[in-house]
């Protein structure tokens, strides 16, 4: 009950926010915030399989490049290329996942990181479709949507983009949360906690790891597709390791114990740098200090604050 209230609140906030905030600067922040939420959410759902991915940017990049090329070279509509680029990303993720998801701990991190660098090298080397190190620019905005000739949504201002990414974010959130709360999510938990035991009770490790990985990468690819058409310019540098690290930091700061964690983390860490803007040179120092303090004193992330407060209260009551 409380959860559905929360969800309703989230939907209302997401609906109303773009109506109130019209300043393009702040709309841009909301868009990037929602984009970061998707990145952090999908990274966390790979983490739920017990796999620490260090190359999440690769999948965002594949989605972005696939979508840009499909629209610009094949002349497909954005509304086709958006889901298809997600599917392409998921297929490539399966191809990389089949050999590497058997690896545990750091070894998986290293291979995914290498995969990220390999994709970037491919974009640079093969100038023909990928545009080399200068990347692809002039990626068109999504085609207008016509509702039975009644009214038309044209992607002329950032507000339309804002609604689009909010819808993508909500879809990602609902799908990942429903999976997590189902028997499938239960199997993910089992695999993460003890893969030997999970295997001994009949859970096919590779089947479930591949499933979880492909679903997460599908949404990462969709987010990448949105990114390409929103910024209208992508290059190998758009999808470097910093993006993967950001995804990890957002999820870790928010807390990976719940689906809410990455959302809280990504939203706050997207907004904080703006307030720090006046600090100028010291911006990064404050940002780093903030991260350090959270990792030191709230290792389970920002979402663990209510539980902590309750615990402290209980202790006082007992005394």
């Amino acid at each position: 009950m409380r959860k559905s209230f929360f969800f309703l609140g989230l939907v209302i906030i997401l609906l109303v926010l773009p109506l109130i905030i019209r300043d393009p600067f702040y709309v841009d922040i909301m868009i990037m915030g929602a984009f970061n939420c998707i990145i952090a959410l999908t990274w966390r759902s790979i983490m739920q399989l017990g796999q620490f991915s260090f190359g999440h940017a690769a999948f965002v990049g594949i989605g972005g490049y696939a979508s840009a090329l499909m629209v610009m070279k094949l002349g497909l509509s954005f509304w086709v290329s958006l889901p298809v680029s997600g599917v392409i990303t998921a297929i490539l993720a399966l191809m990389i996942g089949l050999p590497t998801l058997r690896l545990k701990g750091m070894f998986f991190s290293i291979t995914t990181w290498s995969f990220n660098e390999i994709t970037r090298a491919i974009y640079v080397i093969f100038k023909k479709p990928f545009g080399g190190s200068t990347g692809i620019y002039g990626i068109p905005a999504p085609d207008p949507i016509n509702f039975l000739g009644l009214f038309e949504i044209r992607f002329a201002t950032k507000t339309e983009f804002c609604y689009l990414i909010f819808i993508l974010f909500l879809t990602t959130y609902i799908v990942l949360r429903r999976i997590e709360q189902s028997r499938i999510g239960m199997n993910f938990d089992a695999i993460r906690v003890d893969d030997d035991l999970a295997e001994s009770v009949g859970i096919n490790l590779m089947e479930y790891k591949c499933l979880g990985f492909a679903v997460a990468c599908f949404f990462a690819g969709v987010a990448g597709s949105f990114y390409a058409h929103y910024i209208s310019f992508i290059s190998p540098n758009s999808f470097e390791m910093a993006l993967s690290v950001n995804a990890i930091v957002y999820a870790m700061v928010g807390g990976i114990g719940s689906v809410l964690g990455p959302i809280v983390g990504a939203s706050i860490l997207t907004v904080i740098p703006i307030f720090l803007h006046s600090a100028g040179f010291f911006k990064m120092i404050f940002y780093a200090l903030f991260l350090l303090l959270i990792l030191l004193f709230l290792p389970e992330g920002l979402i663990s604050i209510p539980v902590r407060v309750q615990k402290i209260r209980q202790q006082f009551r007992i005394k």
Partner: protein, 256 residues
């Protein structure tokens, strides 16, 4: 009826032969003990049967079907589950949740389940939950159902380990030292528990160092040393077997 049979089962780790041409026959409904000194290769035998290790040589037949080379999850599907030593649990989750997580084989998951909530799905979940209750009753930890697995006392953790294995509806249950580190009272409870499980028709193979448990429970005992079978027979026969005594106590030096 023969449930499990191994023929010339061999496992080599580099130059070391952990299991050497082992021939096992386990009949339906038996409780068989597998004993041997430390490092005799008992747990390796379990790892080979359940597919965690690939045998270097030999065959494993489960209900007449060759299973060597299959992955552990396939073998669980064919009706053979094991417990681990030290006990493995899904720590961080409640006792009930632990058993629920182990029900995978009987939960009949479809990938669309998360998105199509249906009445039959809810009924199925209720049925599975009832089954968890009955398993917890069987192993005697239904009072601890809401406790966190890692907070349970040692004896109850062992019981939960068995409950997890039972959730897969095994025909053959391999218990790896179920009574280890228990006081006499606890190991008595464990014996009762194993007897109750055997009464439900499940065939059990036990590795155990506590001879009291083995001698009381097992109808047949197989003793191995250096990966080779050195004796097989009733508890009485094993107790009097000179080779077993020698393996456990060393050579009887008469001149001393």
């Amino acid at each position: 009826m023969l449930l499990l049979e191994t023929k010339k089962l061999t496992k080599q780790f580099g130059g070391l032969t952990a299991v050497n041409s082992l021939e096992l026959q386990i009949n339906q409904g038996e409780i068989v003990g597998l004993i041997g000194p430390n490092g005799a290769g008992k747990t390796t035998v379990f790892n080979l049967i359940t597919g965690f290790f690939l045998p270097s040589n030999g065959t494993i037949l489960l209900s007449g079907e060759r299973v060597e080379g299959l992955r552990p999850h396939n073998i669980a599907q064919k009706g053979c589950t094991r417990t681990f030593q030290p006990t493995k649990l899904f720590s961080g989750y409640s006792v009930i949740r632990n058993v629920l997580m182990a029900q995978h084989l009987y939960s009949r998951i479809h990938f669309w389940d998360p998105f199509v909530p249906s009445r039959s799905l809810r009924d199925r979940e209720n049925l599975l939950l009832k089954e968890v209750e009955s398993i917890l009753d069987l192993v005697g930890i239904s009072e601890q159902r809401n406790e966190q697995a890692q907070d349970l006392p040692h004896g109850h953790q062992q019981a939960l380990g068995i409950a997890i294995a039972l959730a897969t509806h095994p025909k053959l249950l391999l218990l790896d030292e179920p009574a280890t580190g228990m006081n006499p009272e606890e190991s008595f409870i464990m014996m009762e528990r194993i007897r109750k499980i055997a009464n439900t028709g499940i065939t059990i193979v036990i590795i155990e160092h506590d001879m009291k448990v083995i001698m009381n429970l097992c109808s047949r005992i197989i003793a191995i040393n250096y990966g080779k079978k050195i004796a097989e027979g009733t508890p009485k026969q094993i107790r009097e077997n000179p080779e077993v005594i020698q393996a456990y106590l060393g050579k009887n030096d008469v001149s001393a």
